[in-house]
C-alpha cells in the first residue's frame, strides 16, 4: 500500500497544507466544495501509479488564506504559484466540482504548466438548460442528499459523514463554508468568460461525469467538451455528483486509462 503524509509549504505568506503519497509521475488532485476530506480510497488507488499531491486550498482546512486572496480568479493564480513552490512543472491536473473549475481556470492561465487535464463533475460553466444546484440554499444536509446517487454505494460515507464531528472538525467545516461563500457566492459557481477562454487549452483533457449528477447538470460535460479543443467525455452510470467517492474504482480506472501513453486518440 503506497504511503502518504501531510506536508505544508509557504506560498505568498500563507502556509498551505497538502497530502502527498505514491510513486510515479506527479498528479495534482484538487478537492471539491467540502474542502479536503483527507486521504481517500481514490487517492490510494491513484497513488498506485502516480505521485499524488492533494493540496488543501487556502482558506479551507488548515491552509491559511492570505488576506488579499478573495476571488476565484485569484485562487487560480495562487494555486499556480503553489505548483511553482512545489516544483511541479508539466504536471497532470485533476479536480472535482470547484476543484475542476479551479483546474480549468489554471489551465487557461498557464496551459504549458500541465500535460493533461482531468475535470470531474466540474463547476465553472453556466448550464444552458438547467442550473447548478445552490448548495448554500439547500444547506449541508440538503446538499449531501443531492450529491450522491445512492449513499449505500459510498463506502466511506459513514466514516466521513455519519459520525459526530469533533469541535475541531466543526470549526473547520465552518471555515470551509465561509471560504466557499467568499470565492463562489456570485456569480454562483461559474465564470462567464471561461467557455471562451478554454479555447486556449490544447491539452488532452478527460471530462468525467456522474450520469445522475444533481449538483452540476450533465449538460455541462458537453459544454466543457465543446469549449476544449482536445477533450473527451466519460460518463459513469448510476453515479451522482461525486464519482471519486461514489465510484472510486471506475473513476480511477478512467484516469489511469487516460494517462497511459497512447490511450488518447
Amino acid at each position: 500500500m503506497p504511503e502518504h503524509a501531510e506536508h505544508a509549504i509557504e506560498v505568498g505568506g500563507a502556509r498551505i497544507h497538502y497530502l502527498k503519497g505514491g510513486q510515479g509521475k506527479p498528479l495534482v488532485a484538487l478537492h471539491g466544495a467540502e474542502g479536503s476530506l483527507g486521504w481517500r480510497q481514490y487517492h490510494e488507488q491513484l497513488a498506485e501509479s502516480f505521485t499524488v499531491y492533494a493540496p488543501t486550498c487556502p482558506g479551507f482546512g488548515q491552509s491559511e488564506r492570505p488576506p488579499w486572496l478573495e476571488s476565484f480568479t485569484d485562487l487560480a493564480r495562487f494555486s499556480l504559484w503553489l505548483l511553482d513552490a512545489l516544483e511541479l512543472p508539466q504536471v497532470t491536473l485533476a479536480g472535482h466540482f470547484i476543484g475542476g473549475w479551479l483546474a480549468a481556470e489554471m489551465a487557461v492561465m498557464s496551459p504549458r504548466t500541465f500535460d493533461r487535464l482531468i475535470l470531474i463533475d466540474a463547476a465553472g460553466i453556466q448550464p444552458r438548460d438547467g442550473e447548478i444546484a445552490d448548495i448554500f440554499l439547500h444547506g449541508q444536509e440538503g446538499a449531501r442528499q443531492l450529491t450522491y446517487f445512492d449513499t449505500q454505494q459510498v463506502a466511506e460515507y459513514a466514516e466521513l459523514f455519519q459520525r459526530k464531528p469533533s469541535k475541531e472538525e466543526r470549526d473547520i467545516h465552518t471555515r470551509n463554508q465561509e471560504t466557499l461563500v467568499r470565492y463562489c457566492w456570485k456569480p454562483y459557481m461559474f465564470s462567464p468568460s471561461l467557455p471562451g477562454l478554454l479555447g486556449r487549452v490544447q491539452l488532452p483533457t478527460l471530462i468525467i461525469w456522474g450520469q445522475d449528477d444533481r449538483i452540476v447538470p450533465l449538460e455541462c460535460s458537453a459544454l466543457y467538451q465543446r469549449a476544449l479543443p482536445n477533450a473527451r467525455v466519460a460518463i459513469i452510470p448510476h453515479c451522482g455528483h461525486c464519482p471519486p467517492l461514489e465510484k472510486p474504482t471506475e473513476c480511477v480506472r478512467l484516469i489511469q486509462n487516460f494517462l497511459t501513453p497512447g490511450a488518447l486518440e
Binding site: F136, H138, G142, T174, R175, V181, R182, W185, K186
Partner: protein, 404 residues
Amino acid sequence: MFLMRFTERAYVDYSEEDVRQSFRSAVRLTFPNAHFNPSLGADLYNTYLDEYEYAEAVGFDGLMLNEHHNTPTCMGAAMNLEAAILARTTKRAKIVLLGNPLPIFDNPLRLAEELAEIDMISRGRLVSGFVRGTGIESWATNTNPVYNRERFEEAHDLIIKTWTTPGPWRWEGKHYQFRVVNPFERPLQQPHPPIWIPGIGSPETLVWCAQHHYPYIYLETDPQVTLDLTAIYTEAARQVGYEPGPQNFGYLVRVHVQDTDEKAYEVGKGFLIGNAGVGRVPLPGDFMAPPGYNSREGARRIVDQYRRYALRPDPLYGGVDSAGWEKVVDSNRVIVGNPDTVVRKLREVLSVVRPGILGVWTNDGTIGHEDTMRCLSLMEHDVLPAVREMGTELGLPGPFEHAP
C-alpha cells in the same frame, strides 16, 4: 424617555401548513409569493399608514419602521417609501427607520439621497437607523454574507461623509467606488440626521456603536441578556472616554392594551401568528445566518450569552408549542393587559433594562385594525403619560434630552 410605536406591518393571510409546504419549510426567503394577494396588500399598506398617523395623534414621539425582504412577516420591503409618505402626512413625530440594511445596497449614495429627501420633507424629523440586515436580506439580494460587516461599515462611512463633506470628491473603497460624490440635496438636520442602530446583540456592533456614540436599540432581547450586552457597550464607551447612559440604549417590546386584562390576553395571542408565531415552524438557521454572516467569535459570544440564561427554548421565540403563551406573558416578553397592568409590567422591564428609548410594538400577526386602534386610543391617556412620568422618575432620558 422617547416613546416610539412599531409594527412589522405583517401580511397574515396564510397558514402554518402553507409554511410547512415551502422550500425548507421557511416562512421567510422561500415562502412562495403566490400566497400574496395584492388587493389585500393594498388595504393593509393603507391601514398600516393610517395607524401610524393615529400613533402620532395619541402622543408617540416616534414612528418606527423596519425593512425585511421575501417575507410575509413584514411588508416593509421598501421602508423608505412608507417613511416618505409619513414624512408628509405627519407633523410632529420623528420618523425612526430601524433601519436601512446597508450591506445590500450597491449604491449607498442613492440611499443618502433618499434619506436626505425624507429628512427635508419631514422638516428634520428623520432618525436614520442602519442595520446589517438578517441573513435573509443577504440571500434575497444576493449580497455575499462574508462581506456583510465590511459593506455595512464602508457604506456607513460613505453616507456620513456624503452628508458632512462638501462635494465633489472621490471614493475608492474596497466595496464601493464613485468618481464624483456630490449629491446636490443634503439633509436638513446638521451635521446629519441622528443615527440609531437596532439589533439583538452582535458584540462587534455594540462596540462599533459605542465608538460612534450611536444609541443601540435592543430588539426584544431577554432582559437579563440585555444587561450583559449593555456591559459590552459600556466598556467600549469607556475606552473611548465617555460614560453611556439610558440615552445610549433603546428597548423594543411587544405591548398590547385593551380595556380588560382578559381581552388583552386573548387578542395579544395574535402576536404569535407572524414573526414569532409561525416561527413555530423554525426557520433554517443558515437562512438567518448564512456562512460568513457572523464572525466566528461573534457567533460564539451570542450563543454563550443566551445559553447562560437557559433561554432555549426562548419563551417568546420558542413559540406557544414549547413555552406557552402564559409563560411568554408571565416573563414580560410580551406585555398585555389593561392600562394599569401594562404600566405596572413596563415598570418591571424599564427598571431592569433602563433604556432611554422605548419601542412599543403594539400589534402584529392577527391582531386586527379595530383592536389596534383601541390599543392606541387607550395608550393616549392611560399609558403613555404614565410611562413618561416613569421615565423621569427612573432617570431615563432619551437621546433628544441628553446627547448620547
